[in-house]
Every structure is written in structure tokens, then in C-alpha cells.
């Protein structure tokens, strides 16, 4: 374990940024933190969560896949990929780090998504433990420990220092790069912080969220429940929950005419949208109730069924904070589990 005093953290970023781009949460003009490329003057935000999740790095909202150019009868296919250099994502919270595992199981399974893979391989993930979880946090329901973040390097931030521990070979290389501004230390302070975090986590209002009504094998039991109708009644059908979600992974592939050729790109899609998965015969989910149900069934039943019981929610709480009508996965789980108003 190595320690960097907070006074030296600027020097740490500066040193790293000489070698590769460093992205970290920075407070924006709207009062929330956004992942921003470090440059002199940009300070590491202490905000709990970034407004958008860290999935953007590996799975950006829009991404060009390929371009075509035609000249007479000749067609040229152009590889537009540009992500060829390593970069650091600094200060990722434990929930967002866990989301990478969930995305990996989708994009890195056969057939491997080479776009995602390339971004993933070039990214060095430095996570940071949560010292001030919010009332909307419920990562512990999914066995995520906010005091023990994963990633290539784990970090803990105290009043006056940041502690680093490598978890992977990529992490080892990172530790070498920051050697000059850090010093070897024991883990006493980190252990103390972990204890503190544990106590806070127990006090969180959603600490005892029960997820047992969901999981693999529950499709029949839950799909036809009459409760979906009431839960989805006032859903606006916007894409907020899906776009702020670190694990939502659906996308659409489109093309546009640049005037000089064609660019094929993909962009995030949302199961909340009326044209989601629209096929030649039409749309398989005609009502908002069906679309709403799809989102929660996917996260809490279908995904676990296909992925060894792993839930596709990490309890980051963004949807709780952002849904225009304050309907969310926690309310769904409590209502379906017969535990509303508890």
C-alpha cells in the first residue's frame, strides 16, 4: 500500500497526465460532478457520484462504428476507431466499478464487441471508497462493499491523504508511475476508515433492502403480476433511468449521410422508448407497462438467469435521484416483494 498526501495529489495528476489522459470527477457549473479530463486547475471532486456513470468510458452514448465511401462502383470501408492509447479513469465509486463486470459479461462474451474491448483494455480503473454514502445508496443489497472498492487500483481518501493498493498487473504499472509522489505505508488508516464506512452503511435507510423476491427463475412468478400496472401508471416513458444507469447496455445501430459518405454509428437505446426493438412486424411491447416491466425484469430476473445469479443493478441510486416521477427499482422491489412502505 502506498500513500499520497492530499497536498501532493495535484502533482500526482500532473505526472500521470504527462503520460496519458487522466479522467476524474470534477464539479461542473451545475453543481454536480462530471468525469472530466484533468488539466491544471481541475480539482478532484469529493462528490459521491458523478452525474453520469462511468460506463460512458467503455460504452459511450454515441460511437462511430465504421464509415463507407463510394466512388463509382468502388466502395471503401473505413475503420474509424481512434482509441489506441491508455488512459486513467480516476475516482470511480465501488458501485460503478461493479457495473464494469456486468457490462463485461455482455460485451466481452462471444461474439466479443471489439469496440468495447479496446476501450476496456486501454482503461486503467482507479476506484475510491465511499466515505459519505447517500440515503439513495443500496449497493450492499448486491453484496458490494463501499469500503472495499475494486478495479485495477483501489483508493481510500482520508482528510489529508489518499491510499492506493494495486489489484491487477495494470494496477502494478500504475503504482510504478506514481511512485515519486507516494510513499510506502501500512494499512492502519485504511482499516480504520473501512470500519467507519461499515458503521455508516448499517445506518443507511435502504441498508436492509430485501432482494429475495427477484433473481433467476422468477419469471413466471413475476411476469404476470397485476402490480406492474400500478407501478408503471404514471411513468413518462422518458429514458432518464436507463441513461443514468451504469448497467443499462442496450443500443441501436444507425447510419447517417455525411454528404461525402455514410457513417454507421451506435447510440444508447432505452427500453422505455416506444420504438425500442422495433422490427418489421412492429414493436413487441406496445404499452408503457410492458416497457417498464421489461426494464426491471431484465435487471432483476433475466440477467441473473443468464449470468450465474448476478443482478444487473449495483445500487448506485442514480435512478432514485433522477426519475422525474420518483418511481424506481427500490419501489419496484419493495412493492413486488410485498414490503412497500417499510
Amino acid at each position: 500500500m502506498r500513500k499520497c498526501s492530499l497536498e501532493k495529489i495535484e502533482a500526482l495528476f500532473e505526472g500521470l497526465a504527462k503520460e496519458m489522459p487522466v479522467y476524474l470527477p470534477v464539479d461542473g457549473s451545475d453543481g454536480e460532478a462530471h468525469f472530466t479530463q484533468w488539466e491544471k486547475g481541475k480539482a478532484w471532486s469529493s462528490a459521491l457520484n458523478t452525474q453520469r456513470s462511468a460506463k460512458d468510458f467503455f460504452f459511450p452514448q454515441t460511437e462511430d462504428l465504421v464509415a463507407f465511401k463510394t466512388e463509382g462502383k468502388k466502395i471503401e470501408i473505413i475503420d474509424v476507431r481512434s482509441e489506441k492509447e491508455d488512459y486513467v479513469i480516476f475516482g470511480v465509486r465501488p458501485c460503478d466499478v461493479k457495473s464494469f463486470e456486468i457490462l463485461d459479461r455482455v460485451f466481452l462474451a462471444e461474439p466479443v464487441d471489439s469496440y468495447y474491448k479496446s476501450r476496456r483494455e486501454h482503461g486503467i480503473v482507479v476506484s475510491v471508497a465511499c466515505t459519505r454514502p447517500a440515503e439513495t445508496c443500496f449497493c450492499s443489497a448486491f453484496a458490494i462493499d463501499a469500503g472495499e472498492p475494486m478495479g485495477d487500483v483501489s483508493a481510500w481518501r482520508t482528510e489529508d491523504a489518499v491510499f492506493f493498493r494495486s489489484n491487477t498487473p495494470k494496477g502494478d504499472a500504475f503504482m510504478k508511475k506514481i511512485e515519486a509522489v507516494t510513499e510506502e505505508c501500512d494499512d492502519a488508516e485504511v482499516q480504520a476508515q473501512k470500519e467507519k464506512i461499515k458503521k455508516i452503511l448499517e445506518k443507511l435507510p435502504l441498508a436492509k433492502l430485501d432482494i429475495s423476491s427477484f433473481g433467476a427463475g422468477k419469471t413466471k412468478e413475476l411476469f404476470d403480476s397485476p402490480l406492474w400496472k400500478d407501478l408503471s401508471e404514471t411513468c413518462l416513458g422518458c429514458g432518464t433511468c436507463t441513461f443514468v444507469c451504469p448497467t443499462c447496455q442496450c443500443y441501436d445501430i444507425k447510419e447517417y449521410d455525411t454528404g461525402h459518405g455514410i457513417v454507421r454509428f451506435r447510440c444508447w437505446d432505452s427500453c422505455m422508448y416506444s420504438d425500442f426493438t422495433k422490427m418489421a412486424h412492429g414493436n413487441p411491447r406496445l404499452t408503457q407497462m410492458e416497457r417498464f416491466r421489461q426494464r426491471f425484469m431484465h435487471k432483476l430476473v433475466y440477467y441473473p438467469e443468464n449470468n450465474d445469479g448476478l443482478f444487473s443493478c449495483v445500487g448506485c441510486g442514480r435512478c432514485l435521484a433522477k426519475c422525474p416521477i420518483s418511481m424506481n427499482i427500490v419501489k419496484v422491489m419493495k412493492t413486488m416483494g410485498g414490503k412497500e412502505n417499510e
Binding site: E233, F265, W268
Partner: protein, 330 residues
């Protein structure tokens, strides 16, 4: 702090259900915390008595729900309307989007709603309880021994700080005192933008709109956006736009939407309330309202049912297009 109590609204809802005036009630349902209120229908006394909520976080405007609700429901729907909600309903009635016969509107006074984001900016994460007493809001936090106190005025939603009216322009029954339209400073921010150079203004909107994630929440909540199928969602329209391909398209969506609702937008402020990216979208709409006021005389959409908006009406006093090209300095 609201002057009308939850109990008064509950009693009203229960009595209207019991005497058969209405068959369902559109109201607010409580959530996990004191502030996460969900719009919801109630059809039984038990449900209302147990779960109906009315507090300073009941900002949602129900008017747009009436478009689909009055189509789906057989019976009459009781809807509680804050003054600004009534402007939206009136505008929808003007556009024949809501079946008036199926609506029983109860006007309720509103002292302004709280913006939870402003509370969080001051109190930080870990809000476990919110207590409001007269003009003060107190937050009990997981991280502080003593409650964090703040003036209510300080955390009021922007649209409520600049409240345009306390008057109910449409309802079947009114609870509490009747209010009046107010003088507000709602165009001050627009004036600031107007005073910028084009480059500064461009930079301002570039910064704001570059955060847009095209979740469409602003459109989906907007009572003026009631197209059955938005062109931006329609693969057959040729302009379907699931995500902005570049920074031009990013701006295009919001500017086109502002044009589309110009003259019909009542300035209810729902677009900015729901934006997950905190983009002050209402400023675009207010610019149009301000311009319309300037070019055609004062006009408030939704104030009178059946009124013709200046942009779809012709009078001999209308300004010439040239006036607009000159920047409207007439």
C-alpha cells in the same frame, strides 16, 4: 410551507369518491424518503387515507396525465390542481386534448415547491428526514449531530421563486383562498442572456446543452408536447433522432422543441424540474414568451380557455416580419 393540509385534501378526495362525483383521484403517493413523491391514481378510501401525500415536494403537474386518463377512464377523475397546473390544463382544453366532462378539478393553493437539488447542495448526501416549520427547512442528516437548517426561500424551486400566478384559471371547486396573477422577475435571466454577445450566448448554451443525454424527459413531461408520436421518435419521419450525432443536433432538438411549443407553453417549468442534467430549459421557452409579449402584446398561454395564441392569430396590429429581423427593437 403549504397552507392547506394533507388531511383537508384527503377528506375532500374521500367525500367526492363516496358521493360518486368521481371514480378515481389523481394525487401524490409517498416514497422512500420525505421528498420522492410519485404521481398516482387512488380509487379507494383506504388507499387514500394510508398513502396520499401532500407536502412541499408535490411539484408534479398532473394536467398532461389527463390527456390519456380521460381517454382510458370511464368515470370522472378528481385532480388536484395547483395554480400553475391550471394554466396547463386550460391550454390543453383549448387544444381539445382533454375531455373536460371527465375532469373534476379542485384548485388548491400553493406556497411554492421545494427543489430537492437545492436542499442537497446545502445539506449534502445522507438526508434522513426533512422537517418544515413555517419559513425554515430542517434536514436531519446521517452525518451531522444537529439538524441542518435553511430558509425555505433559499431552496424553493426557481419556477416558484418567480411564481407567475396564484390564481386558478380553471377548476370546479376551490379550496383555500383565491389568489391573483403576480408580477414576477421571471424574465430577468432571459434579459441577462439577451445582453450577452452572440459568442457568449452561444458558449452559454453550448455548455448547458452539451450535457443533454436525450432522455426526452423534458418533452415527455411537457403539457404542451402531446403529439401521439413525436417526429423525433418516429423512424418513418426521416428526422428520428435517438441521440445527437454532433453538437449541432444537440442544440437542434431543444431549439426545435422550444419553437414547437412557442405560444402554447404556459411556463409551468416542468422541463427544468425533470431534467436529470440540470439544464435550464425553461429559459428557451421564456425567451419566446418574452418576445411574443414584446411583439404582439402581453399574452399568457392558458389564461383563458379558447384564446388564440398570437402566433396562430392575425390582427392588423401585428408586427411586420422585418421588425423581428431587426432584433425586435421597435
Amino acid at each position: 410551507m403549504q397552507t392547506i393540509t394533507r388531511d383537508a385534501l384527503v377528506d375532500k378526495a374521500v367525500s367526492l369518491l363516496e358521493n360518486g362525483t368521481v371514480t378515481s383521484v389523481l394525487g401524490w403517493r409517498g416514497g422512500e424518503f420525505d421528498y420522492d413523491i410519485t404521481p398516482s391514481s387512488f380509487t379507494t378510501e383506504e388507499d387514500i387515507r394510508k398513502n396520499f401525500v401532500w407536502n412541499d415536494f408535490c411539484g408534479a403537474n398532473f394536467s398532461k396525465y389527463l390527456v390519456s386518463k380521460t381517454k382510458e377512464n370511464e368515470g370522472k377523475i378528481l385532480v388536484f390542481l395547483k395554480p400553475c397546473d391550471t394554466y396547463s390544463l386550460n391550454q390543453l382544453l383549448t387544444e381539445h386534448r382533454v375531455d373536460r366532462q371527465k375532469v373534476y378539478g379542485v384548485g388548491i393553493p400553493c406556497q411554492g415547491m421545494i427543489d430537492i437539488h437545492k436542499v442537497k447542495q446545502i445539506a449534502g448526501e445522507g438526508i434522513s428526514k426533512i422537517h418544515i416549520k413555517e419559513e425554515t427547512l430542517e434536514v436531519t442528516s446521517l452525518y451531522e449531530e444537529n439538524p441542518i437548517s435553511m430558509a425555505l426561500q433559499e431552496v424553493l424551486a426557481e419556477r416558484c421563486v418567480n411564481c407567475k400566478s396564484k390564481k386558478h384559471v380553471v377548476c370546479d371547486e376551490q379550496m383555500g383562498d383565491a389568489g391573483e396573477a403576480l408580477e414576477s422577475a421571471r424574465f430577468d435571466e432571459v434579459e441577462k442572456l439577451e445582453k450577452m454577445t452572440p459568442e457568449e450566448r452561444f458558449a452559454f448554451w453550448q455548455d448547458q446543452l452539451s450535457r443533454c443525454i436525450r432522455c426526452n424527459a423534458c418533452r415527455d413531461v411537457c403539457p404542451a408536447c402531446t403529439c401521439e408520436k413525436c417526429v423525433f421518435d418516429n423512424p418513418a419521419s426521416g428526422v428520428e433522432n435517438k441521440a445527437a450525432a454532433n453538437s449541432f443536433e444537440e442544440k437542434m432538438f431543444h431549439i426545435i422543441r422550444a419553437f414547437h411549443v412557442a405560444g402554447r407553453c404556459t411556463d409551468c417549468g416542468e422541463c427544468s424540474r425533470v431534467c436529470p442534467q440540470n439544464i435550464p430549459l425553461h429559459l428557451l421557452n421564456r425567451k419566446f414568451i418574452k418576445d411574443i409579449n414584446q411583439f404582439y402584446g402581453e399574452y399568457q398561454a392558458g389564461e383563458t380557455e379558447g384564446s388564440r395564441a398570437p402566433l396562430v392569430d392575425y390582427t392588423e396590429d401585428d408586427g411586420e416580419p422585418g421588425d423581428m429581423f431587426d432584433g425586435g427593437d421597435r
